[in-house]
């Protein structure tokens, strides 16, 4: 015998709504729609089979979160639906965004390069909208290029870099070689590593660009020892967002040194290797749903939908301005399966969150690393703290 949901449901909703003293306007049902806007970024050819980007990266996270959130919603007469717009790298996402965001305040998730996300945030149609950046790591979006209508569920490069530097300080491996690729994303990550090294007292004994365009898979054993032998250091930190060389530095360095950053010990918003803090529950759910492992981009979209769900559930309101205010307020807290209560920084809209330091198959630790203290929350030792950001106009 299997007692059904629906049997108890009519009952339960009536009982719940009847029993709880709620303002009359909050008793009605709510239908929340969220638009998922994606424009694929342009990438060079992938070298390692491990780095193939899934077609539904990001979208699968948003879809699963809709399902998760409806599990609460069905008891409260709240329903959540996802509108999906996906464009290839050359596509005109702006025109699609205009259509999707036109007519009244809307909620949207943006999984696209920073320039496209900014262009959408600046559309007149988006002025009163709530946008979640779930695809661009660019620190500038949380700094001088922040927008009042944009929150960020993906960590910034500054947060990722700070996490790794805390780990290096903890290990007392404070002399590093930084190797930066030649794509703009690599250079931005390299700059984040330089800033973080300065912030936490890590010395760059070498700071070199990796300019080679040849297929490193065929020549790593010849090239990498030469490239890595002119300085002494404890670890090699690679800024290689495009996955063109870092993984092939492993075991090929002149001296036996670990590779970190974009390969080896990676600094990530989400790792498929995470299992603690009930992460295994989310991993299992995602694996069953998407038939693949969850990554950082999926996780960021999942967090965006879950944030909206939490705000709607607690405020019993579908009003976009009220949702935004709740998300940026003190009461908001989100379960992100990383052992901490996640919340938004009111000064730049960034979701505070622990950062995973993990190899492909094992989690090494989560940052903030124990010992890095902060007067408010240790999570604010990662990325732009209130005194550091140039973002104004959020509050």
């Amino acid at each position: 015998m299997r007692a059904s949901w629906t049997q108890g449901l009519a009952f339960s909703v009536a009982a719940l709504l009847g029993a709880t003293a709620m303002p009359a306007h909050a008793q009605g049902s709510l239908a929340i729609s969220i638009t998922y806007l994606e424009k694929k970024a342009e990438h060079p050819p992938t070298l390692s089979n491990f780095d193939l980007i899934p077609d539904d990266e990001g979208l699968a996270g948003a879809r699963l979160a809709i399902k998760d959130t409806n599990s609460t919603g069905k008891f409260l007469k709240h329903s959540y639906a996802l509108g999906e717009v996906v464009k290839e790298s050359g596509g005109d996402i702006l025109a699609e965004a205009r259509k999707a965001l036109d007519g009244g305040p809307k909620i949207a998730i943006l999984n696209m390069p920073a320039a496209d996300a900014l262009a959408i945030a600046d559309l007149p149609e988006a002025a009163d909208d709530l946008l979640f950046n779930a695809g661009a790591y660019d620190t500038a979006l949380r700094d001088d290029k922040c927008r009042r209508n944009m929150l960020h569920t993906l960590p910034s490069r500054a947060m990722l870099a700070d996490a790794l530097m805390q780990f290096l300080v903890k290990k007392q491996w404070t002399r590093i070689m930084l190797v930066t690729g030649h794509y703009p994303t690599d250079e931005a990550l390299g700059e984040a590593f330089r800033n973080a090294a300065k912030k936490f007292g890590v010395t760059l004994n070498a700071d070199k660009p990796w300019l080679a365009d040849a297929d490193i898979r065929r020549n790593a054993m010849q090239e990498v020892p030469l490239f890595t032998q002119d300085a002494d250091y404890d670890a090699i930190v690679a800024a290689d967002e495009e996955n063109q060389f870092a993984t092939f530095f492993q075991y090929n360095s002149w001296q036996p040194r670990p590779i970190m950053g974009s390969a080896g010990l990676m600094t990530l918003a989400w790792s498929p290797a995470m299992e603690q803090w009930a992460a295994i529950q989310l991993q299992d759910r995602f694996n069953a749903f998407a038939k693949r492992k969850m990554d950082s981009i999926d996780y960021a979209s999942w967090l965006a939908v879950r944030s909206v769900g939490e705000a709607v559930t607690r405020t019993r309101s579908g009003d976009v301005a009220a949702i935004r205010a709740y998300l940026l307020g003190d009461q908001f807290g989100l379960d992100g399966f990383k052992g901490s209560r996640l919340s938004y920084r009111s000064w730049n809209g960034q979701l505070r969150q622990p950062i995973a330091l993990a190899s492909r198959d094992a989690l090494v630790t989560l940052a903030p690393i124990e010992g890095f203290e902060h007067e408010n929350t240790e999570l604010d030792t990662l990325g732009l703290d209130r005194p550091e950001t140039k973002c104004t106009g959020m509050e």
Binding site: A3, D68, T72, G339, R341
Partner: protein, 328 residues
Amino acid sequence: MKARTLAATTALCLLTCASASAHWLYVSNEKDDTLSVIDTETNELIDTIKVGERPRGITFSGDYKYLYICASDSNAVQVYDIAAKKIIHDLPSGDDPEQFALAPDNKHLYIANENDALATVVDVDSRTVVAQIDVGVEPEGMAVSHDGKWAIVTSETTAMVHWIDTATNTLIDNTLVDQRPREAQFSADDKELWVSSEIGGTVTVMDVATRQIKKVIDFAISGVSRDTIQPVGIRLTKDGKWAFVALGPANHVAVIDRATMEVANYVLVGRRVWHMALTPEGDKLYTTNGVSGDVTMVDVASQKPEKTIKVGRFPWGAAMLPKDKIPQ
């Protein structure tokens, strides 16, 4: 090695000693696949028992002859015979059982199946599944009221307390609480239901008669960041005076005055405190500390930690065997 020697000594004592002088505390070690047994008078480890994979929730049968063990990764509830000192059989449990509660009829076991969004009701005598009830995502905490009328499931992702009528095994009501509800406990008089919210960082006290929220209790410990205050285990003293709440990575147990429903004290225990057990007299509280791999004994009268006892890896659940129930 030490544990084995101690176990041998205890076995000897069991043969020769007239009666046990102290209650035994059973602790499940999640990452060792063992139970640790502690003598609550000497506060020493007296036995280590090999069980199924990833043991978490543990609870005694009403007559204390058996200990039920959620062996999560073995997908089974194991039945451990206290006198025979062995696992005698498994119960059908559904997938990934984490916590459970035995109804006062001593016959129906309510089990939360975390991966399947289900609660499974098992008849422990016939070893059959009596009912499966759809609940929210990631069901975790389970409680049955002392009068047997209500079974409660908390679902973590859905952030709800589900009220199940045990007469029909149907879902009657749902109460929204703060994020990641974990443990549910009825007060001895069944008038209150206490539920901890791990990520919300609160404990919600509900009036059972009306199923309304009476009070949401918040916690603040100086020098401890709010993010690390993650309430999990709850224990209420039988005399109705105190509630104890294990605060996870904040490494403290909150002591709540039941009369005022305010926090009276915070007791420092081991790292990542999960669950607790009280002695039948209610004079000693034992906490399982997952990360430090030990158990802290807290004196209830003075509200001070008095002793730390090393157990296995990642101790999780705790259950107390009263001394008059220890087999001779």
